[in-house]
């Protein structure tokens, strides 16, 4: 299943909050695994989202040497990111509860 539009940011932030700093590949894999492979991130689409979040100041990024020829870019949640995450989760809950009420069989 594709990720519902607008929720990718929340998923990324939540992943970083739960599992701590990690690189883009790790985030993609983690989202897939924790959602038990139901949510399929088209992996590349992670990067525009990460750029956006980075610009908003919700995460910071840092290059970390990972072997002789490769570096990993590690993302870490900022305090602003934490606040953003709780608003987004609250918003999401309100919306999905509302949707739930609408589609709940009468």
């Amino acid at each position: 299943m594709d990720i519902p539009p607008g929720t990718l940011d929340m998923l990324i932030l939540k992943t970083l909050r739960r599992f701590g700093p990690m690189h883009g590949y790790g985030i993609a894999k983690t989202i897939q695994q924790t959602s038990e492979d139901i949510l399929k991130v088209e992996e590349g689409s992670l990067y525009p989202a990460l750029q956006r979040i980075l610009l908003k100041g919700w995460v910071t990024a840092e290059w970390v040497q990972a072997g002789p020829k490769r570096r990993n870019r590690i993302y870490q949640l900022t305090p602003e990111g934490r606040m953003q995450l709780s608003t987004e989760i609250a918003d999401y809950r309100r919306v999905s509860a509302a949707i739930e009420r609408v589609i709940e069989p009468a």
């Binding site: 690189h23 883009g24 590949y25 993609a28 088209e42 992996e43 590349g44 689409s45 990067y47 525009p48 990460l50 750029q51 956006r52 610009l55 908003k56 100041g57 990024a61 290059w63 490769r70 570096r71 990993n72 870019r73 602003e80």
Partner: protein
Amino acid sequence: MAWFSQIRRSLAVLVHRDRFARDLEEEMRSHLELQAQDNRKNGMAAREAEHAARRQFGNAALLRELSRDTWGWGWLERLAQDIAFSLRVLRKRPGFTAIAVIILALGSGANTAIFTVVNAMLLRPLPFPQPDRLVYLGEANRQKGLLLDWVAPGNYLEWRERTNLLADIGVFDPVRATLTGAGEPVRLNGVQASATLLTTLGINPILGRTFTSEEDRPGKNSVVMLGENLWRGRFGARTDILGKTIQIASRPFTIVGVVPDYVRLDADAWDLWTPLGLGPEARDTHTGFSVHAIGRMKSGVTISQVRREMRSIGAIIYSEYKGLGPGWEVETDALSDRLMRRTRPQLLLLTGAVGLLLLIACGNVANLLWMRSAQRNREIAIRAALGAGRWRIVRQLLTESIVLSSMAGAAGLLIAYGSVHLLYEWMPESMQTGIYPKVDPTVLVFTLAVSMATGFLFGLLPALNAGRIRLVESLKEARGGGSLSRGGLAGAFVVVQAVLAVVLLTGAGLLIRSFREVLAVDMGFQPERLLTFQVPLSSKYQDAARVAFYEGLIERVRNLPGVRHVGGSELLPLDGGGANVEFAVEGHPFNGLGEFVGTRIVTPGYFQAMGIPLLRGRVFEAHDDQNAAEVAVINHTMAITYWPGDDPVGKRFKLNPRYDSPWITVVGVVHNTKHFALDGKNWPEAFFPQRQRGWPTMRLVVRTSGDPLGLIPAIRTVISSMDPNVPMADVRTMDRIVGDSVAPRRLSMIVLACFAGLALLLASIGLYGVLAFSVVQRRHELGVRMALGAKGRDVLAMLLRRGMWLTLAGLVSGMAASIAVTRLLSDMIFGIRLLDPVTYAFVSVMVLTTAAVAILIPARRAARIDPMEALRYE
């Protein structure tokens, strides 16, 4: 401040764009590698593992684009691309680019130059603290059509006591003063100012102090502030001059301070500032308008409040001192408005004209782009076929025109930079304010804005049309074929250009005609070969000695070879200034209605030297001296106004009738001379003999048989042989004085005529271009017509008809527009009607002739088309 750090981060992205791109690139690559690695661990073959990773990743190029878009600078990158592409396109067609840039640069340069002057003279605030609080006070009588820059000292003192809205009022009187003592005597511009003027304006001396109110009293006022120029020039900017004494008109003054050069209320900065020193008798002077007044409003007060207050204060004073008669009012204006009163209409006229010129230039370039877009049809169609949206194409073409207009703007800036000082030097002194126009940031912003706007203006229509391209037809057409609608819009451009050019031509024509009328006015004297100069005497010469000096000087100058007549006068015609004195005619009861006459003190030889005809009676003679009864010669206007249908010779009048003044007998009537301006009205004038009323400063007029300027050294020798301390000042020929008096008029006439000429040229280039282009476009059609039997003559006639229709449409609408627009010129029109038939006829002939040339060149080329060749060309 979340938005603030976001902006900071966005800017960081912009600055380090390359690093961000590299980071993203590396990150994506490393993602793919990690995935491939995992895939291999899961048992895939190396190549298969990489492919799978890529598949899973998605369209990397697109994602890269999407990522970069989130940085928010995509528009900037696309703009940079557009600009780079535009430059490439423009470079590929250097001829087109050069012509468009030159045309636009002319328009833009003229606009920038005029704006630079407007900016310096009209828009920049006066160099005083809180300049918008300064007001200029004058006295006016609308019933008599008088608007005086001058106020009576007694009124000024009353205003000052009664006002609640003005913080203070100051007064001043500009004077010419002779600095004597060290070296050659020099004649300088000076001012006598009240101490309150310095505080009202808020003048900060660059050295020393301003004078105090104690020093602003009669008898105490022997202190002086030097102007910065004089201080730097003659005194070498020495700081130890404070406390030193200088001689002004042989009286000692102590230097107390130095006033900065930018403090100007006049064309020239004042070199000598001395206290006015109004005495107690000034309080009773309610009719002698002799000083200028400037007030400073208290904070929060508006000018209309002050205007009301001064009107009501004025009403009280004028009713208490009935002397002036009814109709008088206090006039309150913003100081900046008042100082610019004469210059503003001229500058606004030029601004309007130069704006029209720019519009014409825009029209021309729009036409060029229009025709070129015909040739670019295929290119644009291909771009559209490859997926460029309509808006994308419009944006690209608009970018091209804005790049073009920016290049022209830069060139225009250079033109303005080079020409603005010429424009200023050209301006008559009366228009110069001492504020030198400079190309400053305001001007740069203006030019940038104008460039952008013109780019849009001339680029928009062609771009929109190109964006509406019909793909299939355009691609099918062999080579940039001619769509017919194109001719229609190009024709419209030509008509609009013609309208604008006709408006400018009519305006210029009206001013030229008015100028000729002004010069043809009967000035009442003969200005040719007439040398004039001032001979200021110091207070060393009193009464009889003064008269004797001038008579001796006149006698000696008369004996010089090449001199025909010599006379002297306090004032010269067209040089302005002078006193208007209240008077009463014998036999008419003096009813306090305040009749005024301009008084001039002259020597007996003045009328002959000036060539002013005597109409009745006699001029002065040697026996009109202190022992004889007072006599006067009056001008024609005074004679017919106050002794209508009667011979005024032998009649009497008196000056200052409120006081016990003697009767003066009229002995002669002379022809009117224009005193204020050639286009001014005649004013009653009375001349008095120097022997009966001595005057400290006479101007000599010398009628010569040869070149008047050649006599200067001889006259200078004569003067210094009589007294080496007496200067020969302000030497000008009468021709020059006449010329100076019409200089503002001449300036606007010449500049407007230049603009109009340029406009006509541009408009006819536009017409030529449209026709020449249509000849190229219709080559095939013309070839067919001629193959079917049309003669070259017919083709010529056809094109001539089309061109003339366009011209006539432009001419007729242009005249209609002119009738509306030239109304704005009505203050500058003199001696002709606003709908002057000569001007309109002249403009028609000029436009039609120029158009005929512009049409005939391409039409003749069309007539010579060889049908065989034209058809083979297909």
